[in-house]
């Protein structure tokens, strides 16, 4: 039977594996989406919307050649969250985003995963720019973007329909 075949690469860092998301990851992802921690991303959403977001971030791989990885702790196998490269139609340029489970906070996990995802993107899609869209006041994400070497770009175009009060653009630096 003919068809289309797509690939999701697996990346390894010192402490983490970035791998294709699976159905087993969804309950933790949905619990996050239903919690106040999702305020800065989608707002608190139910399982139906959460599944759509979870599946769409995976589908990005076949549409764009980049998409979401689940972050897994190499030592324990624990699901730590998601690192996401996406370029939906209402974004002016590709975005690096992160979703971290509460119990994985404070360990540098998002930083370690984001470095790997950013460097993979540069190596494989180096002709494209990369930003992170961050809600002003989301201090954890602002700090992570800064630690990644990204800088606030006040002149960058915003996602359709968004204002500077809602979204700040952090531009990632090109890898050497």
């Amino acid at each position: 039977m003919t068809g289309i075949t797509d690939h999701i690469p697996t990346l390894e860092t010192e402490r983490l594996v970035l791998r294709a998301p699976s159905r087993a990851d969804f309950p933790a992802f949905a619990a996050y989406c239903a919690s106040p921690r999702a305020t800065f991303s989608w707002g608190q959403i139910g399982a139906d919307r959460a599944w759509a977001e979870f599946a769409a971030a995976i589908g990005s791989w076949s549409l764009m050649g980049f998409g979401a990885w689940s972050i897994e702790d190499r030592a324990t196998g624990t699901y730590c969250g998601e690192i996401l490269l996406q370029h939906p139609a209402h974004f002016p340029e590709p975005e690096l985003g992160w979703t971290l489970m509460e119990e994985s906070e404070g360990k540098g996990i998002a930083y370690e995963a984001a470095v790997a995802a950013r460097d993979w993107f540069t190596a494989n899609h180096g002709d494209k720019s990369l930003v992170s869209y961050i809600t002003p006041g989301n201090t954890r994400s602002e700090a992570l973007a800064t630690r990644l070497g990204a800088t606030h770009d006040p002149d960058a175009p915003l996602p359709d329909g968004e204002t500077a009060n809602e979204t700040a653009v952090y531009r990632h630096r090109r890898a050497a």
Binding site: T2, D6, D48, A52, S62, L63, P88
Partner: protein, 175 residues
């Protein structure tokens, strides 16, 4: 190391059923922005239309099955989306169909759904299949009737509201 996933291509007399693709976006966004999307959560923004297209592709990865974009052989245009669907919140595996503007009245939904149903029974080994039909979606109900499906029960969807669950003839009834 990579994870590889595949979406098969099916062919009927007048249609190619292939994986959802980036090139489908404009016509899909037009569909979701139109009154025709009233029974599938629409009208919806381009942002949500993109999410829906990516969701179609991601469904294949998560479930191992999904919906295909229908391409009209004579024009090579995408004319609809039909296939096997089971997002979170659906009671059972579903056979679903959405036709874009200008593609109705030609029997395309039925033609594609028959191919998708054969794939479910013959390739995936499924033994039953349902279709959720929104109250008042008479066009969709007529497709279900043409496919030999019958009313099974009522179902209320978190977002789409009250719907009817229709059940298709099983594989033994179709051979």
């Amino acid at each position: 190391m990579t994870v590889t996933f595949s979406t098969p291509t099916l062919e009927t007399e007048r249609l190619i059923l292939r994986a959802p693709a980036l090139t489908d976006f404009d016509v899909l966004a037009d569909f979701y922005a139109s009154p025709r999307a009233e029974f599938v959560g629409g009208p919806q923004s381009r942002e949500l239309s993109w999410r829906n297209l990516a969701l179609e592709a991601g469904h294949w990865v998560l479930r191992g099955f999904g919906r295909w974009t229908l391409v009209e052989k004579t024009t090579q245009n995408p004319v609809g989306i039909v296939g096997l669907w089971h997002p979170e919140g659906f009671p059972e595996n579903e056979l679903g169909w959405d036709l874009f503007d200008g593609a109705t009245g030609k029997g395309y939904a039925t033609e594609a759904a028959i191919a998708a149903r054969h794939y479910a029974y013959d390739t995936l080994g499924w033994t039953t299949l349902t279709s959720l039909i929104a109250i008042g979606n008479d066009g969709s109900r007529r497709v279900a009737e043409r496919l030999g499906a019958t009313y099974d029960s009522d179902f209320t969807h978190e977002r789409f509201g009250p719907m009817q669950l229709w059940r298709h003839p099983g594989p033994e009834a179709l051979t």
